[in-house]
């Protein structure tokens, strides 16, 4: 099985202070990888290093190699010729807090498709409906597509963000604590959706929840003070015991 995301000697600093040091790891296609660690350990920075979103923050400097396995071959994320916008069009991201655009529900779904993928008209509407159904939101919003997305509940907004990211048909999806700010029911729906997605695209999820990590993870990366201090894989020997041992100090 090919590596979906391959990271080698990754170092990320902000204004000279190292947030990530010497990270080397691989995730596999068809797996759901969960990144765990205490607050401030660098989990989100690691996630944002995959789609170069750290560069949107002032004073960021990144060294090392991040490679993605995409349908049309390997992509070196930090190569000179790699356009960050095109990269992010293929590597979707969902944030901890729902980050709907200040537009209607429909425009939230259609505008990124038009701008990023050049898909408009009926084709874009069809994708929109398909993805809203996929996240279980279509029946809840189909009669008010013109309403501002901000009028939806927190859980609905997060599912809208997920649908919006999926509408761009990414090959890698990054999720930064996607269930942290939603209710229990919404969290379970999102988890079920992630499990159903892992056969189609590579998933990297930051999580603060031990039960969630246990339910979702095929692979776990443990980050402590900016360094990768442990890895776990569902297929390894004595997986359950190793899982408990590794995460007992984290949660």
């Amino acid at each position: 099985m090919t590596a979906a995301v391959s990271i080698k000697n990754l170092r990320v600093t902000f204004n000279g202070a190292a947030v990530l040091e010497d990270i080397t790891c691989k995730t596999r296609c068809g797996e759901l990888t969960v990144i765990v660690g205490r607050s401030g350990s660098g989990k989100s920075t690691l996630l944002r290093a995959v789609n170069r979103l750290n560069e949107c923050f002032p004073g960021c400097s990144t060294t090392g190699v991040v490679r993605l396995s995409l349908h049309d071959g390997q992509l070196a994320v930090y190569a000179d010729g790699t356009c960050p916008e095109r990269l992010r069009g293929r590597v979707g991201m969902v944030f901890q807090s729902p980050n709907v655009l200040p537009l209607s529900i429909e425009r939230n779904m259609l505008l990124p498709q038009r701008l990023v993928r050049g898909i408009t008209g009926r084709a874009a509407e069809e994708i929109m409906r398909r993805m809203l159904r996929r996240v279980g939101l279509f029946d809840e919003v189909c009669d008010r597509m013109d309403a501002q997305a901000a009028t939806l509940s927190g859980g609905q907004q997060q599912r809208l963000c997920l649908a919006r990211a999926l509408a761009l048909e990414p090959e890698v999806l990054l999720l930064d604590e996607p269930t942290a700010s939603v209710d229990y029911q919404s969290a379970r729906r999102i988890e079920d959706l992630l499990l159903s997605l892992k056969d189609e695209l590579s998933l990297l999820v930051v999580s603060h929840s031990l039960p969630q990590t246990r339910r979702l993870a095929d692979r776990v990366l443990l980050i402590r003070e900016g360094r990768l201090t442990g890895q776990w894989h569902r297929g390894q020997a004595n997986a359950d015991a190793a899982f408990e041992k590794m995460l007992s100090t984290t949660f």
Partner: protein, 290 residues
């Protein structure tokens, strides 16, 4: 200072602010009443018809200020038409379209421009812009509507840029990461997310800039040539109401010509008041909307 004195300080502060507000309101009202009072002698049918005419020939008894009113409106609106798109472009450059280093430099320069006295712009324009226009277009002396439009556009540019900048600052951070994570380019983010959500900021920048352009004296006085006439082209000389007041007030003090200045003053005052009222209505609508 004891903690108690900190706790008791808000009440005197409120009183000081209230007194200041009432004094400011009283000053503005008294200016209006002062202008209206001095305009009383102009409320005669003959005088009023002379005043509301196109000819300014004080020695023949024509005191028409309509050409000055037209000059003011023409100059202010033209300079805004030039300054507004340029200001919008600069603001987009500052907010992600341009590289961070040059963007910071441009913003710093724009902020610096607000502290440059108007007379400096006028002085530089007289010795640089006016001869340039004269040599390039070979139309008249160079002291023209065009020179004043260019000079005034530079003057109001910081007002437009900083108003838009403050509006962008409230919206852009809300969508920056989302737009970037979706793969949108900075220009797409500005064009499709920030600018559409900045409608009221655009209107406020336009109104404030227009108010500044209408009220400026030094630029039209130094660059527009000050001929009280309707311009046939941008190379013709014009006179604005503000320049008219500055010119006549220094040379006359008793005649009807002098009194006509109060009509100009009242017109300027009312224009500015209308602009302020427009802004307040905008702010009110915004609060209700939110």
């Amino acid at each position: 200072m004891s903690a108690g004195s900190h706790i008791s300080s808000p009440i005197p502060a409120r009183i000081v602010i209230a007194v200041s507000a009432w004094i400011s309101a009283a000053v503005v009202l008294s200016i209006f009443l002062f202008l209206a009072w001095f305009c009383r002698p102009l409320l005669d049918t003959t005088v009023l018809s002379s005043l509301l005419s196109w000819d300014w020939r004080p020695f023949q008894g024509d005191f028409g200020i309509l050409s000055m009113l037209t000059g003011s409106l023409l100059l202010a609106s033209s300079s805004m038409l030039l300054a507004f798109p340029v200001g919008m472009g600069i603001c987009c450059f500052v907010h992600g379209v341009g590289p961070p280093g040059p963007a910071r430099l441009v913003l710093w320069t724009i902020k610096l421009m607000t502290s440059v006295p108007t007379v400096v712009y006028g002085f530089v324009a007289v010795f640089v812009l006016v001869p340039l226009l004269r040599d390039v277009f070979r139309e008249g002396s160079g002291f023209s509507l065009l020179a004043a439009i260019l000079g005034l556009a530079v003057l109001v540019l910081p007002t437009v840029v900083l108003m838009l900048h403050s509006q962008f600052l409230t919206i852009e951070p809300q969508v920056r990461l989302t737009a970037a994570a979706l793969g949108m380019a900075p220009s797409q983010k500005l064009l499709h997310l920030v600018i559409p959500a900045s409608g009221r900021g655009f209107l406020a920048a336009a109104i404030l800039g227009l108010g500044r352009a209408l009220g400026d004296t030094m630029i039209p006085l130094m660059l527009a040539g000050n001929a009280a006439q309707l311009p046939g082209s941008v190379f013709d000389s014009i006179r604005t109401m503000t320049a008219h007041i500055a010119l006549v007030v220094a040379t006359d003090s008793r005649s009807l010509a002098y009194l006509s200045l109060f009509a100009c003053g009242l017109l300027l005052f009312m224009t500015t008041a209308l602009i302020n009222l427009g802004l307040r209505m905008l702010a009110g609508n915004r609060e209700n909307g939110s």
